[in-house]
């Protein structure tokens, strides 16, 4: 369970990044765009917070990265979900669902 708001936000960002990568390899810009599209333009991840989070996730071994040529001909760093990352995504989604369920139950109380 998250200890405070900052933890909650960081944990959420991790989950969103993992989720966006679960659909395929992406570079940093692509991750932000995919999260934006998938959320119907409601979630806008800041570049300033994306990269530190991405590097931290990489250190945890949930994603791996490699440099490759982007479709525009420029070099880009592509990120890919690892097996451990896929597992982590499942765990985080499950605990997120549980949290939503718990909050819904509290809110429905009369």
């Amino acid at each position: 369970m998250p200890k405070n708001k900052a933890d909650l936000l960081q944990g959420t960002l991790d989950m969103l990044i993992l989720k966006s990568l679960s659909l395929g390899e992406l570079h940093g810009y692509g991750i932000i765009q995919r999260i934006r599209q998938l959320s119907d333009e409601m979630l806008k991840v800041e570049q300033g917070s994306l990269y530190p989070a991405l590097y931290r996730i990489e250190q945890k071994g949930w994603v791996s990265s490699r440099w490759d040529v982007h479709e525009t001909g420029r070099e880009a760093k592509f990120y890919k979900l690892t097996r451990a990352g896929r597992k982590q995504l499942e765990t985080e989604e499950a605990s997120w669902d549980l949290l939503c369920l718990a909050i819904a139950k509290v809110r429905q109380a009369t």
Partner: protein, 163 residues
């Protein structure tokens, strides 16, 4: 494995700080360019597209710094800086350094010497069974002389009486 990856990144950042920062910079610059392309596609003029992309990034240097802090920096880099600074200062003040080294050498040497003696004599138990029950026997001759050598007959008698 997490601590191992962090350690590997930090050591890499210590040895190749420029490369690590360059990588981050390159990655973020591409991000900026792709954002610009998208802005131009959306109908903005190149200048406008660039400004808007920069704005969405916030302060680019700060973003690079924040990202670098994950890969390097922190306690490792500060520690390495402090050690280098300390060594430079020691090299600069030669008299102080030699006195400090001699003081330490003598101090450690004297301590080691005294400890080896104390350890042998006082701390280490005697290599016999029931070492705390070992005694030294003295006898006093009729003339009042103390001596701890005795005749074999006396020795046998003592041995018998102590068992």
């Amino acid at each position: 494995m997490k601590w191992f990856n962090i350690l590997r990144d930090r050591i890499r950042a210590l040895r190749r700080r420029e490369t690590v920062i360059n990588d981050i910079d390159r990655e973020m610059r591409l991000h900026l360019e792709l954002q610009m392309d998208a802005n131009i596609k959306a109908g903005m003029s190149p200048t406008e597209a660039r400004e808007k992309a920069m704005r969405s990034f916030g302060n680019l240097n700060r973003a690079v710094d924040a990202a670098y802090d994950v890969k390097g920096g922190g306690i490792f880099e500060t520690l390495a800086q402090d050690i280098r600074y300390g060594l430079r200062m020691l090299a600069k003040h030669k008299a102080f350094t030699s006195i400090a080294i001699i003081t330490l050498a003598l101090g450690i040497g004297a301590n080691t010497a005294i400890f080896s003696v104390v350890n042998e004599l006082l701390l280490r138990p005697l290599p016999y069974r029931d070492a705390d029950r070992i005694v030294t026997v003295w006898e006093v001759s009729p003339e009042g002389r103390h001596q701890n050598s005795t005749s074999s007959a006396n020795f046998s008698a003592w041995q018998e009486q102590t068992h």
